[in-house]
Symmetry: D4
Subunit: 159 residues, 8 copies
Amino acid sequence: MAKFRLDETDHQILNMLIDNTRTPFTDIAKKLNISAGTVHVRVKKMEEAGIILGSSLTLNYEKLGYAFIAYVGIFLQNTSQTKFVLERINEIPFVTVAHVTTGKFNVFCKIRARDTQHAKEIIFKLDDIEGVYRTETMISLEESINDKKRLMHSIFENL
Amino acid sequence: MAKFRLDETDHQILNMLIDNTRTPFTDIAKKLNISAGTVHVRVKKMEEAGIILGSSLTLNYEKLGYAFIAYVGIFLQNTSQTKFVLERINEIPFVTVAHVTTGKFNVFCKIRARDTQHAKEIIFKLDDIEGVYRTETMISLEESINDKKRLMHSIFENL
Amino acid sequence: MAKFRLDETDHQILNMLIDNTRTPFTDIAKKLNISAGTVHVRVKKMEEAGIILGSSLTLNYEKLGYAFIAYVGIFLQNTSQTKFVLERINEIPFVTVAHVTTGKFNVFCKIRARDTQHAKEIIFKLDDIEGVYRTETMISLEESINDKKRLMHSIFENL
Amino acid sequence: MAKFRLDETDHQILNMLIDNTRTPFTDIAKKLNISAGTVHVRVKKMEEAGIILGSSLTLNYEKLGYAFIAYVGIFLQNTSQTKFVLERINEIPFVTVAHVTTGKFNVFCKIRARDTQHAKEIIFKLDDIEGVYRTETMISLEESINDKKRLMHSIFENL
Amino acid sequence: MAKFRLDETDHQILNMLIDNTRTPFTDIAKKLNISAGTVHVRVKKMEEAGIILGSSLTLNYEKLGYAFIAYVGIFLQNTSQTKFVLERINEIPFVTVAHVTTGKFNVFCKIRARDTQHAKEIIFKLDDIEGVYRTETMISLEESINDKKRLMHSIFENL
Amino acid sequence: MAKFRLDETDHQILNMLIDNTRTPFTDIAKKLNISAGTVHVRVKKMEEAGIILGSSLTLNYEKLGYAFIAYVGIFLQNTSQTKFVLERINEIPFVTVAHVTTGKFNVFCKIRARDTQHAKEIIFKLDDIEGVYRTETMISLEESINDKKRLMHSIFENL
Amino acid sequence: MAKFRLDETDHQILNMLIDNTRTPFTDIAKKLNISAGTVHVRVKKMEEAGIILGSSLTLNYEKLGYAFIAYVGIFLQNTSQTKFVLERINEIPFVTVAHVTTGKFNVFCKIRARDTQHAKEIIFKLDDIEGVYRTETMISLEESINDKKRLMHSIFENL
Amino acid sequence: MAKFRLDETDHQILNMLIDNTRTPFTDIAKKLNISAGTVHVRVKKMEEAGIILGSSLTLNYEKLGYAFIAYVGIFLQNTSQTKFVLERINEIPFVTVAHVTTGKFNVFCKIRARDTQHAKEIIFKLDDIEGVYRTETMISLEESINDKKRLMHSIFENL
């Protein structure tokens, strides 16, 4: 399980793509004084090594009418049901994140909903999954930080 | 605060970009039987309306040596300090998400660290911010779901 | 789901009725320099639009021997039972308020009782509803504020 | 502290007014086979005895744009501040109910807000009252019961 | 349910008996300047009215080898079992006090044991009663106050 | 710290006095076939050894108007204040029991009050003791068992 | 259950063995000015009396790849299952300590694992034991003290 | 931070020493068919590599009068005090283990005491350390497992 080694050039390519995944490879090449082909090869290699898993848009959920965020802690009747319950959770698109956790909860989810009424429906769906014993919800009053770019840049500085 | 109206064509463009932000506009155009210029105009408009905020890579943090995820609940001495504390939190790149929340905690964060030792350092940094009264940590044993694409597709189906 | 638009005259009528529902329409009319018929039409319209749902007396429960107030949090075995349990709760007249809530409890109630003994009987009735898993009670030592009039006036100022 | 004695006629009058505070006294008189003057005297007496404190409208808060309900538990630094804090709370019209309670919280409030953002502002105002040490919020997903009429009728049956 | 009226003489008799139940009635009589017969009649009357329920020794449990005190909170599966469970608890002589309570627990007990091992046996007995769902124990490190005499004297001063 | 040794005769004497502290020594003597002098000597010896600390009446607090029982958990700012706080608690006669405890609370009290209003005053007095940081109250809905006699008899059987 | 009496010589022997169990008896003998045979006899006697139960190595678990420590609190469905559950726990070698406890948990364990993934497997094994109702985990960020030698030396000073 | 590599012979040596640290090297040598010198060299190397940190006796604390075990969770005022507080804790020999932890507590300790009274003194000492904000204690009713040997053997099987 040896880690894939990224060199300085890889870091610089990633740093540029993190800020804008659509940056043309020719722009990256020019900036780094390498050929566009090299950029292409490097990105390919990082995709094949499973470092780059894909890309996604950052949308403004408020403008799309999905301003309600909540965290839902789930208690299972028995942890042997964890895998089954996670598959059921995965069928609810409004759950964007789910973790198996230590501490109070067995599974901990993040949901995005249109409003209180919609959140209730999602929470009730979670509650009704077979093997779910009880849920506890914590509502977000404001998403103050949601930014993986600082982390990504920091990782490449620390590597 | 009227919502920006997206039409069917916008949805189809977004659906394709969500899956791969680097999809060439010419591919999108061909698929939707419209001109590449139209795609360009539509995307531009959605960017200007603040619907599309940007794009980001999905990286494999495990392979980059950042496999440790924890949620940290923060109690403040006084909520008048919320803004100040969030600015301090924002200086720690390993905090990827922070919410002002109801319930037990005043602020709720998600952190990514290299290992237990690194997590301890991050938690201690949070604890030492002026105005932070106490923190409580819940450790992720497994990130089972982390996928906003299902949500995004679902939003455009429901709009 | 467009909101019914109230104008300044509606607000003034409501502000007077909030303070005393029995204020004669002629008094309101005189004060606002409009005809009693107009007052009548306006109130009718607000009733038909479902803005005014009715009126109720404010009684002194202490003098009626009902001085004991408690909040009861209810844990359900399964949220699919919520509707059924709420119907059972609705049969107990001493429960004056019931909410489906986030956080620790599934349902959260307010009860009014004659004394500790009576409160115990009501709590036991709640506990014995099929589908109720456990209850937790918090007793009021003093009802310091119970006043919707400030809210109502404030709403009409803010509209 | 002897309780005011209500007789059967008082009960019947109250039962009618509870359902509709605007019921004309002549209607009540006809129904009970007594004179309108008697109704008037009885109501007057109950008002003077402090049994009837007033009347209020039942409005549809959802239609008025105030659909967000939360319960806020308040921890004080010291209970000697209770009176002072309650006076400050009383200045916030969106707090409709406040109790001094046993158990976890010192003071327990019910608030009505327009939405999550507005609720955050109200909670922060509570948090910033001098002497308030911390607050905990529980959000209502649905107000299933809010009905004092069943209680009132029940009281008069039991008296 | 009118309260029995005690007069000044009753109070003085009780005050003396509270401090020492074996005080001879002749001593009480002399002190209060009344006849021993009067003392006898008064005590009799208070016994018949159910004010005086009996008397008991105050023993030094430490010297008897019973120094371990714990409070045990009991959660029931269903409050309809309360009566049955209390009867089972009543069969365990080491439980000296049991209350039906509000808040976290359904029943709350005080136990006296010889030592940790003995306490464990008693707690396991409670846990094994049919209908008991779970127990939580809080151990006394020191019984600092156990004195009903101050209360009794205070009651007679306040009456 | 050797324990005082009680023999069979001591047990029998104690068993009779536990049930009724006023049982005349001549009655005890007759029943046990010993002289009244022996009973007297034995009781004296147990008093001197500190086994018998005194005697007290069992009164009916409900009939005396003191029907409200609550348990109050006290959090101290610092355990070095324990002794001082206990002395202040000891000045409140309505606190009948106080323990230094493990677990959640530093000190755990039992109080008896006339009613909710009186309980509030006592709790506020506890809250206002210097060094007391916070209190949590659990209210008794019914004192189902309060009986040290079973324990006492059981001790003498087990000795 | 009289305690075995250790004299000064026993203490000195134990003090030396505690620091290094492999100290040759001849070294101990020389230091204490007694014969090696005496040391041998004394150690034998302490082993036979069950004071010395054995000896064990202190290994560096980090270097062996077992750096992850967690405490796991276990809730049982019923304490009658305690013995059975402890036998099942005893089959998991990564549980190094297990206590029957008061308070929140029925059984409280310490586990050592290779990493988060391994910890999850162990916790799931505990969760899946028949009779285990739920578990709660607290993760160690740093083992700051793990030293029984100070205690042992202190015991022999205090004896 | 490469791990020291142990081979099969090292494992076998460790396995024998784990069971009895005083096993003569000649016995180990005979059993493994190697020279005593080899055993000596291997053990030396494992000590120098920091794998073997030392050895200790397993004593019967009950027989030594130290039967009382408790876990104490410590809340700090600020985690910047962690190092200072741990140094103070380290001066109390009755604390045998201390961890910096996630979750509810900042530091989590295990203590061994003679009895309840002694435990109280130790807990009060912890409470009085500067920077300690509050403690919570959980008492062991029975130490059911305390065995690192199973873990050690298991580690060498898994390596």
